[in-house]
Amino acid sequence: MDAQKVDMYIMSNSKYFQSHQISYLRERLLLLDEDKWMMLQTVDLKDPTTILIVSILAGSLGIDRFLIGDTGLGVGKLLTCGGAYIWTIVDWFLIQDATRQKNMEKIQQFL
C-alpha cells in the first residue's frame, strides 16, 4: 500500500494500538494490497479511554470486558460481583492494554 496512506492511517489510529506494535503494523500495512484499504476502515476499533471510563463506572458488572469482546471473562466478572471488586480494581489498570491487544487481534485478520 501507498506509504503516505499507511502513515496517515498510523497517525490517526495510533492510540488504538500498543506502541511497540506500531512499527510491525506499519511494515505489514505497506505490504498490503490496495483493495484492502476499505476493509481496514471498516474494522471496529475500540477507544481505550472510553473503555477505561466504562470500566470505572460499570466494571463490577463486567461490561468493560463484554465491550472489548472478552465475553468469557465478562461473564466471570458478572457472576462474582466483579471478582469481589478486586478484579474490578485490577482491571482499571489492565483494561486499556487489553483493549489495544484486542484491536490488534481484530486488525490482524486483514494483515
Binding site: 463490577s60 458488572l61 469482546g69 472478552d70 465475553t71 468469557g72 471473562l73 461473564v75 466471570g76 458478572l78 457472576l79 462474582t80 460481583c81 466483579g82 471478582g83 469481589a84 471488586y85 474490578t88
Partner: protein
C-alpha cells in the same frame, strides 16, 4: 486469550472460589457481618450476583429450593465449581484442549445477537427480582 492464560485464570478463580466457600462454611454460624459486595455497600441496592454465596451454601446443605429463591445464578457457580476442576485436570494431564475450544465456542455463541439479548434480559430480570427481594 491464549490457552495458557485461560487455564491460569481458571485455576486461580477456582482456588479463590473454593477458599471463599470454605471460609463461609466455617463462618456460617457466626453473626452475619456487612455484605462484601462493594456495589451494594455504595448504592444500597444489590448487584445482579448478590446472594450467590448464600445460594451456593444452600446447595451444599441440600436446600435446593431455597437456593433458587435466593439467587438462581448460584446454580451456575456451583456447576462451574464442580465440573471445571475435573475438566481442567483432564485437559492438563492428557494434554488436550477441549476446555479451551469450548471456551472459544462459548464466546462465539454469546457474540450472536439473539443469544446475547436473551441472556441480558434474563440477567436484568434476575436483578430486578434481587432488588425486589432486598437481598
Amino acid at each position: 486469550m491464549t490457552k495458557k492464560r485461560l487455564y491460569l485464570i481458571l485455576t486461580l478463580g477456582l482456588i479463590a472460589g473454593y477458599s471463599w466457600l470454605a471460609y463461609n462454611l466455617w463462618q456460617q454460624h457466626a453473626v452475619n457481618s456487612k455484605p462484601v459486595c462493594f456495589f451494594k455497600r455504595t448504592t444500597g441496592i444489590p448487584c445482579p450476583s448478590c446472594g450467590n454465596t448464600r445460594s451456593v451454601l444452600a446447595i451444599t446443605s441440600g436446600d435446593f429450593y431455597d437456593a433458587v429463591l435466593i439467587n438462581p445464578l448460584g446454580y451456575v457457580i456451583a456447576a462451574i465449581l464442580i465440573i471445571f476442576p475435573f475438566w481442567l485436570l483432564y485437559d492438563v494431564t492428557l494434554r488436550k484442549e477441549t476446555l479451551y475450544r469450548s471456551y472459544l465456542q462459548f464466546e462465539k455463541a454469546l457474540g450472536k445477537k439473539t443469544v446475547a439479548i436473551l441472556l441480558i434480559v434474563l440477567i436484568l430480570l434476575n436483578w430486578i427480582w434481587n432488588i425486589q427481594k432486598g437481598l
